[in-house]
Symmetry: C2
Subunit: 479 residues, 2 copies
């Protein structure tokens, strides 16, 4: 009798890679434990804390984005409604009213909800979308999800109709959820590269080339994934490009999967406003099938742990909607506390509400901190010897390119590592800064990048450490 071994597993599972929580994250976790449990003489690490710059996890311990009071007050009252009677002057009137409205709808938030999400909250989402875009939105076309990831995985699993034949166009660099999920369902990733030199812009002509190449190779391309604003790049599509992409999808019968999770993470929103694909599709009066994803994990909400999100269907037939509903129902329902977080995100306090002044102050502070840190980091890192950072409208991630000396590349290969992973591991070992190397997001063979989040407080000290490390690394391996 043997224990279960890896050879007995679905081989597609082995092909899944997910770098954001991979080797670097696991090593950082180990260092964190060592720092917490060992004296300095024993752990001998050259740093006092691990700086988690690898995950867009705003409320992570040691990071700097506090939860919004309004969101947490609603959460507390919906969890424990007795507080409404038992307290005075703690909860503003609008908070109590909103919590009661949700409780009236669901009874207890401990109950399974409608599999598609609580109808009241789907209506809130539809109102938010209509307000944002100037076009109506139908709550029946909204699905609440456990974060955007769950929605993306569901849609991809449904669109891959033939293993190793159905393909999906994905940007490179991309958020590795896409390649991981495609690997799991044996879908073919059809990459299109973003153009780094022009701020990681998307070229519809290049997308078309990739599509045609895939067609020639016999791939049945089903969908186009667009991440806008970009992850890890922070780039923002212009409306003319969005229109061209919609036309391309129309022409080739592609489903457009619009990952719009970072729509509130923009540091100059007045100069570079976000335009949803929903709005573009409506403006064009297009019949392209569109699925747009959003999440409570980013923006000012930052409630990753709740697992809240939604997607909206546009131009999807009722029979397909029923299939999506059926699959959602197998998982019973999205987490109800996450659904409540969605409601708080899309139906936040308005001017005149008792909660508004505090909500405004807190959200303004988060936007300002993200913007400030992003700009400081770009200013300090771009132009270091062998490092270049595109300044993009996104305000959550930085994706510096590093031009590694050949000696570093050789040293990496010698220990069986990709050069950028070798660099990021050295960064972690020397400074405690945990980043994700570019190979996790995809890049051309000879390139090297790494992703940092703009969520860590003490940015001067942190970037100072990074700068010192980088200079030493480049000197050590100078050709």
């Amino acid at each position: 009798m043997r224990t279960l071994t890896i050879d007995e597993l679905n081989p597609a599972i082995r092909n899944v890679e997910y770098a954001v929580r991979g080797e670097l994250a696991i090593k950082a976790e180990k260092y964190r434990t060592m720092l917490a449990t060992m004296p300095k003489e024993e752990h001998k690490l050259p740093f006092d804390r691990v700086i988690s710059s690898n995950i867009g996890n705003p409320q992570q311990k040691g990071l700097d984005q506090p939860p919004i009071t309004y969101n947490r007050q609603i959460a507390a009252l919906t969890e424990y409604p007795d507080l409404i009677e038992k307290t005075e002057n703690i909860f503003p009137k609008d908070v109590i009213k909103r919590a009661q409205e949700i409780l009236e709808e669901v009874g207890s938030i401990g109950a399974y909800s409608h599999s598609q999400g609580i109808p009241l909250i789907r209506k809130s989402v539809a109102d938010f979308i209509a307000q944002r875009d100037g076009y109506p939105s139908d709550p029946e076309q909204i699905f609440l999800t456990a974060g955007a990831s769950a929605g993306v995985a569901l849609l991809l699993s449904m669109l891959i109709r033939q293993p190793n034949k159905s393909g999906v166009l994905i940007p490179i660099p991309q958020y590795p959820l896409y390649t991981a999920t495609l690997a799991q369902y044996a879908g073919v990733p059809v990459p299109y590269h973003l153009d780094e030199e022009s701020g990681w812009s998307t070229s519809p002509a290049h997308v078309r080339e990739s599509l045609e190449k895939a067609h020639k190779e016999g791939v049945d391309v089903r969908a186009l994934v667009v991440i806008n604003p970009g992850n890890p790049t922070g780039s923002l599509l212009t409306e003319p490009i969005q229109r061209e992409l919609v036309s391309l999808c129309e022409e080739h019968g592609l489903v457009l999967l619009a990952d719009e999770v970072y729509q509130a993470n923009l540091h100059y929103p007045d100069d570079y406003p976000f335009t949803s694909f929903k709005k573009i599709v409506r403006e064009m009066n297009s019949k392209v099938a569109l699925v747009s994803f959003h999440s409570t994990s980013k923006g000012v909400t930052g409630e990753c742990g709740r697992r809240g999100g939604y997607f909206e269907l546009e131009n999807v037939s009722e029979e397909v909607r029923s299939q999506i509903y059926k699959m959602a129902s197998v998982g019973l329902c999205p987490p109800v506390p996450g659904q409540v977080a969605v409601d708080c995100m899309v139906r936040h306090p308005r001017e005149g509400d008792p909660s508004y002044p505090l909500w405004k102050k807190e959200t303004d502070a988060i936007h300002a901190a993200l913007a400030e840190r992003t700009r400081t980091m770009v200013a300090k890192l771009d132009g270091l010897p062998g490092m270049a950072v595109q300044s993009t409208p996104g305000a959550l991630y930085l994706y510096p390119r590093i031009d590694l000396p050949q000696k570093a590349v050789d040293a990496a290969h010698k220990v069986g590592k990709k050069p950028d992973t070798f660099y990021a591991l050295a960064l972690l070992d020397a400074t405690g800064i945990c980043a994700v190397s570019g190979s996790g997001f995809g890049q051309r063979g000879d390139e090297a990048h790494f992703r940092l989040t703009c969520l860590c407080a003490g940015v001067e000290e942190y970037v100072g450490k990074l700068e010192r490390f980088h200079r030493e690394f480049m000197t050590k391996y100078a050709d």
Copy 2:
């Protein structure tokens, strides 16, 4: 340009069936909306409320299982920690201490946690298991999940290594999550029938026959699913049978998937105590690969909406554990409020704690109500003309058999329905009682069953309605 149609989807998705939230549930929802929005003259329904007896959703509106105060107080404090300072005499000292301990560990519950689950809470689970079984449990082998369903789906997706060839032994009747998930991943369901006449017992000899038959048909059988206590049957395995099943798995290299979600839903736990497969495997010193599932959705916790649960691995190699971890990490983390609910379930107040008296009172009342309702329902329904109900140790579901007259069967076929679905639809139309028909769980071709939950208050009135309906139905279609 066409919209996305069903023919363009992954064909495996079309094969997924999930009756618990299927036709009957959708019709019940429609009636609920009609009752809420229309005057009686307009909706013309012969009932005033829909009785949701279809889903094990204890805190559903109109049902009767309140949340445990302790659980909700912990939830409120972890969501909004300011309450600790802002209130007096609302939260018992042990609640505050526990909430602070969790917050100390995670920082904010709005952050992504460790993908495998919060280490502190995995330790709580391991302690609970060790206490329950008398054998140690390792937190590294515990994965927290979004309900048991998410864990089951993950494991099945990993074990099906060849579409339409890898098989999994499942009980019939079964909880339809299993057939739905197997259909999604193109796994082959290998059914073994439970024996209704002996209280839905499991015969290892019959499991073996099913296995051998599948082998002959070229199916590569990977795993044995056991639901204990049973859903929908409420049956409880005896220890000798559990041992035989473990031996069978050993002999054939099967992974044992033990769905133990209903371990606290027993109405005579002193007479029929629950024994985990973990305990049996350890007692036998077996090397069988075992995955045991539990959930916060049932028992006295009943927090379905939170999506909390866990699985424990036993005799699973480290390389497989890493693969499971990797797949969990693609989904980032289980919902943190659900993880907190797991902690509350496995580490509830103990004698001497300030919260204990209320916790004891509340949980005793829930156990008593479930047991009482189960007994009342069995007593009233068993022996009605054409109806037979097995009395089993489980205290959440009833699974009556109905012997339908040929005229009813013919009438069903005439409208294209399975006979038991025809019966359950007629029940819903006449009384507002929503059940799930047996065809959703699997049964032999000529059988008819339906599942009721024992969660509805007013059991006398409700069962009275059901009895009247049943007598009229049997008369109407009498041969």
